[in-house]
Structures are given as C-alpha cells and as structure tokens.
C-alpha cells in the first residue's frame, strides 16, 4: 500500500479540518450523501463498477446528446471524480461482489438548456435509478443531470478489497430553495482566478448554484472595465491584481458548466473609495467647515455626470455578466460626508428632503434601479435599501445580512411582498474555536412570523466569506466544510436536521473533497 495522498491528484488539498471525534471517518466505507437528497431508498444489494469498462453515456431517448458540452464535460469530470482520486488496488484479493454495473445512462426529458445559462427558476430536479446492469439518471434539464451526477458519485465507495461498489438505489431529489449562494470578496484581498475556479468546483460538490461575486469595494477595483479602463488601472492594488474581460468570461463559463450562476455585485453609493481613483468627480468631496478636506465620501448623488457614468458602466456589466440579476449593494452608506458638503445641502433643500439623508440615499438608489430596469435586469440589494424605504420595483430581491433580529427583518420584507435572501446567520468570515458548522446547520430560514405566502418569498440564502482576513492562502480551509452546512440547509428537506447524523456524513464528505 502506498502512503495516503501521495502522488494522487488532489481536488481540494487545503480543505479545513472538520473536527476531532471521527479520526477514522476517512477510512469508513459506505456512501454518505451531502446534501441529503429528498428521498433515498437503498437496497443491500451491491453492484461493482470496473473502471476500465464503466461509462456514463446518453440515453438514446434523451433530449441531449454528444453535442451538449455541459454534459460531455460533466461526464468526463465525474468519471475522474469516481475513479481518479481513489486508491487503486492491485491485490490478488477478489471482492465477493459479482454483479457489475456497466453504465450510467443519462436522459434529459425536456428541452435540454445545453447552451443556456442557469437562472433562478432552472429545474434542478432529477431521479436516479441504480440497478443492474444499467443505472438511469433522468432529469428535465441538464441542471438536474449535474446535481444527479454529483449524487451518483457520492454513492460509490471502495470496499475493503478496493472494489468500486454501489448499492442498488432509487433517489428522487430536488432542492428546497432555488437560490443557494456563496459570496466571495475580491476587493479586500484579490483572489487569483484559480482560487475562484476551485471554489466553483467545491460549490458543485455541495450543490450550491450561485456565486455572488463581491468584486469591488473601498479597498480595490480589480474589475477591468472596457468602457472605463481607468477604474482598475488606478483603483486596483496593482496592475497584476485585476480581472480582465477574459478572466471574467472564464469564470462565468466554468460556473455555467457546473450549473452555477455568477451574480456580480457593484456596491454603491458607499464602499466605493477605490472607484474615485480612476473616475474624476464621481465621489462626494467632504468638507471641513468651508473648505474641502481632501477626503471623499460616497458616490456624489447630485450630479448628472454620476448617472450617465453609472448608466454606461452598468450597461457594460449587464452585457459581461449574463445573469438576470445584478447586485447593487446599497449597504452601510455613511452620511457624514454628504452632510458636510454645501452643494449636497443645497440639493437637499431644493428637493425638499430636509435633513433626512436616507431620502437622498433613496433618491440615488431609485435612479440606479431605474437604470437597471431599462437594461432589462433585475436587482438584488442589501437590506438597508429596504429599511430606508426606497421604493423598489417588483421582483427586486432584498438580502438580509444583519445578524441582529434577522427573523423580524425577514417578516417585514416578506410582509411587503419582497423576495428575500438570507445571509445574516451565515457570515463565515467570523471564526471561532471549535465546531461552528453546527450553528450554521441548525439555522431554519423559514423560522419567522409570517403567512405561507410570505415564507414562499424566501428564495434561498448565501454563505458569505468577506475578505478582510481571507485571501488565497486561507480561503479553502475557511470556507469548506463550514459552507457545506449551509449547502445542506438550503438544498435538503426542512426535517433533515439531526446534527449527529450530519456530522457523520459531513466528515466523510470532507474526506471526499480533500
């Protein structure tokens, strides 16, 4: 036998450790599904898979065929996940399992979506029927096939003889929430494209389907704009700390092939210090008495040039990022600088806003929301935008992030008929000693006061990994397997909440990801 891990390709070599109690978990044979599917029936009857014969192919009646790149790529990927990363045994010992599973046939029932981008209403359901000699994976769309392939790969394990083994099973599965996201922050620290791609891989293992890309912020502007190249030339950490249009395309396509949407966040009017470096007169000059202090505040909401700039920039963004949604931020706007500026004061007077700067903020966001709807996109905003009573277009999604009284916030937002995303209990950048994944796991997103109609407005949630203390060196171990807890909460049935059982499955799932 060889030394574990040596010379083997490793998927996520930097995955953090789950915990102590299951030291032998990595050696435990048997399947462990994560996140747990809706319905699982397994029989004790075992089938074996021979790596030299087994293959994944298209059912002749499938709506998709070999021209479907998403599936072709996925077949190859999952073949590798199943056979490539395990130990190969060349012993004389022979497994008693005789019956062989020869292939997995994949069938797409409806129009395949092969060349489409996933969206919030993409159908991810699938059924998986494992029986000899041929297993069948059936889904309405390719997205369901991707989820089903992940489940299929998790069903396979090596028995003590080293034989790849699977139990005959019937699995029927679909997600509880349609929006299951991970937020990454590439402004506080730049993340190399490779790190982002690796994160997408791990997301697919956990059936996440949204990458919320908080791409720019106060600290840096790494997004290379075609219309405004100065933004990143001046606003990025360095000229090598940028995402070129090609990088962005690569991320989007890599995500698409895994059934993951990429939603960019261009947070305004606050969190924009880096924007000011490459775009003159965009930020509000702050005053100290009657003089400009030399510092700048949020985006200047009183100038027409601001809106023509935003209009042009967001038009570009809407073309670069294919998703229907753009995240507009809108959080933590600091009013001090606006208050200090005499021009802003005049504007307030003129508009009749009095001293209420939330009205000015609302004015700004309103303009921005109008810009977004004219380019036929929908918006996601942080909860302050709702809290400050900005008038929102129907369909604008509110993301709840403040940990304090988040259940009350969910009630209010949904009572107002707004779709909502939950992040408040899932700020994974906050770390503590010990097994904090349990805390994330036990959150119940619908546990708030409200009617069944209100509950339906919760479209999902996101685990957020803000970047103040995170870069490529510690991203993976900080994110995984902690985010997996959120992954199951958003995918699996509400009743799946036994922490002990989850621990056992998650420990094995971690070993699979390592």
């Amino acid at each position: 036998m060889e030394r574990r891990g040596q010379g083997l390709p490793r998927l996520l070599a930097l995955l953090a450790l789950l915990a102590l109690q299951g030291p032998r978990a990595c050696a435990t044979p048997g399947p462990a599904l994560w996140p747990l599917p809706l319905s699982v029936q397994t029989s004790p009857r075992l089938l074996r898979l021979a790596h030299e014969r087994f293959y994944i192919g298209h059912d002749p009646f499938s709506a998709a065929g070999p021209s479907c790149a998403i599936l072709q790529e996925a077949f190859r990927r999952y073949y590798d996940y199943i056979f490539g990363f395990y130990k190969w045994y060349h012993g004389p010992a022979k497994s008693p399992v005789e019956t062989e599973l020869q292939q997995l046939l994949v069938s797409v029932v409806l129009d395949s979506d092969c060349n489409a981008f996933p969206n919030v209403s993409s159908d991810e359901s699938y059924t998986l029927l494992v029986k000899e000699p041929v297993a069948l994976l059936k889904a309405n769309r390719v997205w369901g096939v991707l989820r089903g392939l992940e489940t299929f790969s998790q069903l396979i394990y090596q028995d003590s003889y080293g034989t790849f083994t699977i139990n005959e099973s019937i699995i029927v599965d679909s997600p509880r929430f349609p929006h299951r996201g991970i937020l990454i922050d590439t402004a506080r620290h730049y993340l190399p494209v490779k790190s982002i791609l690796k994160t997408l891989d791990a997301m697919a293992f956990n059936k996440f389907n949204v990458l919320h890309w908080h791409i720019v912020d106060d600290q840096s502007f790494p997004y290379q704009s075609i219309a405004f190249p100065k933004l990143s030339n001046k606003g990025s950490y360095s000229l090598s700390h940028v995402y070129t249009p090609n990088d962005v395309r690569m991320v989007i396509e890599y995500a698409r092939l895994r059934g993951i949407r990429v939603i960019p966040e261009f947070d305004t009017p606050g969190h924009t210090r880096s924007w000011g470096k490459g775009q003159k007169d965009l930020l509000t000059p702050c005053y100290n008495g009657h003089k400009q202090s030399g510092t700048f505040g949020p985006i200047n909401p009183i100038l027409n040039t601001t809106y023509s700039f935003l209009s042009k920039l967001f038009k570009e963004i809407s073309m670069v990022f294919p998703d229907y949604f753009i995240h507009l931020g809108g959080d933590e706007v600091d009013f001090q600088c606006w208050e200090s500026n005499p021009d802003v004061q005049n504007f307030m007077k003129q508009k009749g806003f009095g001293k209420d700067f939330t009205k000015l903020e609302a004015f700004y966001i309103q303009e921005l929301l109008d810009i977004i709807s004219t380019i036929n996109k929908r918006s996601i905003v942080w909860q302050e935008v709702f809290d400050d009573k900005v008038e929102l277009q129907p369909g604008t999604v509110v993301q709840v992030w403040k940990a304090e009284a988040y259940r009350g916030e969910l009630s209010q937002v949904t009572a107002d008929g707004r779709p909502v995303l939950l992040s408040a209990p899932w700020y994974l950048d906050y770390i503590s000693y010990g097994q904090d994944w349990e805390k994330y796991y036990q959150v119940e997103p619908l546990d708030f006061d409200g009617s069944p109609e209100q509950k339906k407005l919760v479209i999902g949630g996101e685990a957020c990994l803000w970047g103040e203390y995170v870069d490529a060196t510690n991203l993976t171990p900080r994110l995984w397997p902690r985010a997996s807890a959120v992954g199951e909460r958003l995918w699996s049935h509400k009743e799946v909440r036994d922490v002990e059982d989850a621990y056992k499955r998650l420990a094995i799932h971690r070993c699979r990801m390592v």
Binding site: R3, A16, A27, Y190, H241, Y469, A472, N474, T476
Partner: protein
C-alpha cells in the same frame, strides 16, 4: 564571549571575536567559493552550506549601492523605533538602522558625488568557533554582527548558529526597486536573542501531519529565528511513532499503521533537517524507553498534564495500591508517584526534562534543573502568577499560556500575542532570569495539513519576535508594517501565510 543572552540593552556587544575558520563567498546569488582560511576549520560545513544554498534561491542576481535618494539608501546607525519597511522581522532592535533619509543624504553628499553606485557581490562570513557537526543546544550562542558598508560586507558570529541567524537577517535586508534592481542599505547590525528557548509546538497525535508538513514548518521557523521544535508526538487519540521496543504501540495505536506513522528514519530526518537550521527537537513522550534509539536533545518533554483521576478512582487494583502506599484518597500522590518513577527512569538516561505545569502544581518532587512549562491561562492561578511561583521555587520556566495559536478569533489576534511580556510578574531579577523562553503551541484538535500553515503563519511570527527581540519592542504599528511585509516575503518563499489585514502582496499565493 561576554555578552549576556538575555540582556535587554540594545547596543554593541563587547565581545572579542577571534576571526578564523570558514570564509564563504556569495556572489550573484550563488555560493561560488568556500575557502578555508584556518586549518582547523572544515571545508564543508553542512549547516552553513545548506543555508547558503537555500538563500541563494532568493538572493539577488546583483546588488547595488546607490546614492539615489528615492531608492532609499541610508546609513543604518540609530536605534529603530519606527519607520522603514526594509528592516525585516525580528531584527529591528539591535539593528542600528534607520532610513533617516535627509541626514543620510547630506552625509553621502558630502562624501561622494551624487550617483555613487557600488556593486556588492560578496558577503564574507566569519565563524569564530570551529564545528559544524554538533547539535544546537539550550546554551548555543546565536549572536552575530552584520556589517555592510563601502569597504566591506561581513557577517561575524561565534558559532554556525549565529551565522544562520545572520544570514536570515541579511536576506531580509535585501529589497527590490520597482525596476527590479536589488538593493541593500548600508547597515550595521548587532543582534542576539533575548531568550534562549524559542519554541513551536506541533501536535501530530490529534491529527497526523505528513512529514513534508513538518519539514516545511521547520523552514518557516528558521525564517522566524525559532530554535526549538517541540514535537507532541503521541497522545490519547493516536500513537504514530514507530517504536522498536514496543511495536505493538504503533500497530494498534496509530490511525493507520501503514500510512499514519513516523518511522525511526522519519524522526532522524526531522532531527537533521532541524539541526541544519539551528533548531533543536524536543520530543514530548510519556514512555521514555523509546527515546533511547535516537533521543536527539538533551532535554525531553514528559508531558504530565491533565491527568483524569476518575478512572484511577474506579479501579479496585489502583485502590488497593493506594492503600498499600499509604496515599489515602489523594490521587495527586499517585500521580506524583508515577511521574517520580518516570523522572527517575529519564534521569538514568542522562537527559534533562521539561514538564507541564501540573507536575509542579501537584508538588511532584522533581530535580532542581527541571524546566516547567506554563500553559494554563487562569487556573489554578493566572499564568503570570504561576511564573512567579515557579521561578520563586528556583525552577526554570517556559511560557506558553497566552500563545495557544490553535485558538482562533475574528480579527487581528496576533496583536494580543505580540504584546505579551513574559517577565511581567512580581519577582527578583534572578527570578526573571529563570524564564528561559516560551513556545507557541498549535494543538491539533482542529488542525491538520489542510489548514496548519495559514493558521500558524504569520501569527507565530508575533511570538517569535517577542522571544527574540528586546522587550522594548512594543510598538504595534511598527510591528504591523514589518509583519505585513514579512508575510509577503513568506508568500514569495512559497509559504501559505494568511493575511493580517486588507491589502495585497506583489506575489500572491497561487494554487498549484
């Protein structure tokens, strides 16, 4: 050598060095010459050669003097307490150096024409005491002086260990202009550690750490001038050490007897790898018989912490034994009996020993030269009080309590680690002198090779500077600048060290 290891006074150390032994020339980043000046010396000095080879990978192809003010040339001459980004980690205090640019400029200007450029391509290393094959010890002298000026560039040290420390400092002094030219400032450094025992504990029992993880950690320890690797080899969860005497222990006690073990060869490799970096290996082991086969250090760590009495209480044989020995129901006496017997065994091997504080707290009789490691923060007493008690009983002490780096919190927790003052307890100067150092501990309950490196570095660097540099180094802003810069150095050297705050490094960590 007259220098005191634990002196707090920055300034030149009045030692008279006999200059002889090996001269090593470094040019263009490569070791080009190893000359023998003195016949007593050895042609090949493994620690030094290895060290030079390692630095050669990142030393510049060309270093220049420059009179260019913008490029930051300066004469190093005053004690640093703020300022330069190029002063390196752990070496600042006794480095009589500042980039006092205007003053420097004047002086340079008087002496030379403006574009004074001098290319340096030779660093001469003088080691006073012959000997390259020994193991480092608690008494090893790590002092060195480094002189870089118009006339000469040399590194003086009494021992090879000092030369290793000096080379690390030298490598940290070199910086690169945006055009890619390597520079070194005119510098005079007189440096020595404040404490002789500067350790890092790794726990390979809670989770197995593959050998490369351990070796890589030794590299980074050397960058941080740590000099003791405390290897917590076995514990309740597993027994990964392959014992010649009791092979069953490993066969049945390790997570996986084929893969999750350290062979005797592995242990030897670790010891030699550490030696080449001037690092002692202090093995913590509760079954001393095993260490006979390789026992590296004069000191052995015997553990002795957190003994659970409830099982002993429940066992009738133990109860009978207690009665026979007249211990009554005081299980601390039984523990003392065990430790006492263990210590007798170890003493017979001619080794000194380090024990956790419980052995002292439970009043086990130990030899007067025993070193007590203080690890409990508040119970039974605050760790500062414990240091007072231990040193008051004339034992030497090691501090670890505030340096459990496996405990993590959100934010810049290195600051708290940095601000610990190991001698801030009530006591006589003699008592203070009994604090021989400390150790950063990385226990393994939630740590394995997936997250060891970012959790350890650069946080352990804060402990390293506290143990190496003067107690006067307490300016957090200055430390932050240097440590953030040092993290970028670590990234450049391929160490996956995590960020301290927002920002970036020229060279980020790239997934392979």
């Amino acid at each position: 050598m007259e220098c005191s290891n634990s002196s707090d006074k920055p300034g030149f150390c009045a030692a008279s060095l006999v200059i002889r032994t090996v001269t090593v020339a470094v040019a263009c980043g490569l070791v080009t010459e190893v000359q023998r000046i003195n016949s007593k010396a050895q042609d090949v000095c493994p620690p030094l050669n290895g060290c030079l080879g390692r630095y050669a990978e990142e030393l510049p192809l060309q270093w220049r003097w420059s009179g260019d003010k913008e490029a930051g040339t300066g004469i190093c001459r005053t004690i640093v307490d703020s300022g330069s980004a190029h002063t390196g980690w752990l070496s600042a205090v006794r480095q009589k150096c500042t980039l006092d640019r205007d003053a420097v400029w004047e002086e340079e200007g008087r002496k030379q024409e403006k574009q004074h450029t001098l290319e340096k391509n030779l660093l001469v290393i003088y080691v006073a005491t012959p000997g390259c094959d020994q193991l480092p010890s608690l008494e090893s002298v790590e002092n060195y002086t480094l002189t870089i000026n118009d006339e000469q560039n040399f590194l003086l040290s009494k021992t090879v260990w000092g030369a290793l420390r000096g080379l690390e400092t030298f490598s940290q002094l070199i910086w690169r202009s945006p055009e890619g030219t390597f520079f070194i400032n005119k510098t005079e450094i007189e440096d020595f550690p404040r404490f002789p025992h500067r350790g890092l504990l790794l726990d390979t029992s809670r989770h197995y750490l593959p050998l490369p993880s351990i070796l890589n950690t030794l590299d980074v320890m050397a960058y941080n001038k740590f000099n003791v690797f405390h290897w917590h080899l076995v514990d309740d969860p597993s027994f990964p050490y392959e014992s010649f005497t009791f092979p069953e222990l490993t066969r049945k006690g390790s997570y996986n007897p084929a893969t999750h073990i350290y062979t005797a060869q592995d242990v030897k490799e670790v010891i030699e790898y550490a030696r080449l970096r001037g690092i002692r290996v202090l093995v913590e082991f509760d079954t001393p018989g095993h260490t006979q086969s390789w026992g590296p250090d004069f000191y052995l760590h015997l553990g002795g912490d957190e003994v659970d009495f409830s099982c002993w209480k429940s066992n009738p044989d133990v109860q009978a034994f207690m009665k026979k020995k007249g211990f009554g129901t005081d299980f601390k006496k039984l523990e003392s009996f065990y430790i006492q017997t263990l210590l007798d065994i170890v003493s017979a091997y001619g080794k000194g020993y380090v024990v956790w504080q419980e052995v002292f707290d439970n009043k086990v009789k130990v030899r007067p030269d025993t070193i007590i490691q203080v690890w409990r923060e508040e119970v039974p007493v605050n760790y500062m009080k414990e240091l007072e008690l231990v040193t008051n009983a004339s034992f030497r002490a090691l501090l670890s309590a505030p340096w459990y780096l496996n405990h993590i919190t959100y934010g810049p927790d290195w600051e708290e680690v940095y601000m610990v003052e190991p001698q801030a307890f009530e006591g006589t100067p003699e008592q203070k002198a009994l604090v021989i150092g400390g150790e950063a501990c990385m226990w393994g309950e939630y740590v394995d090779s997936t997250n060891l490196v970012p959790r350890l570095w650069p946080r352990a660097g804060a402990v390293a500077e506290r143990l190496w540099s003067s107690r006067l180094m307490t300016n957090l802003d200055f430390a932050f600048k240097r440590l953030a810069d040092f993290r970028c150095v670590l990234l450049r050297r391929g160490v996956q060290a995590q960020p301290l705050s927002v920002g970036f490094c020229e060279q980020e960590f790239e997934e392979t």
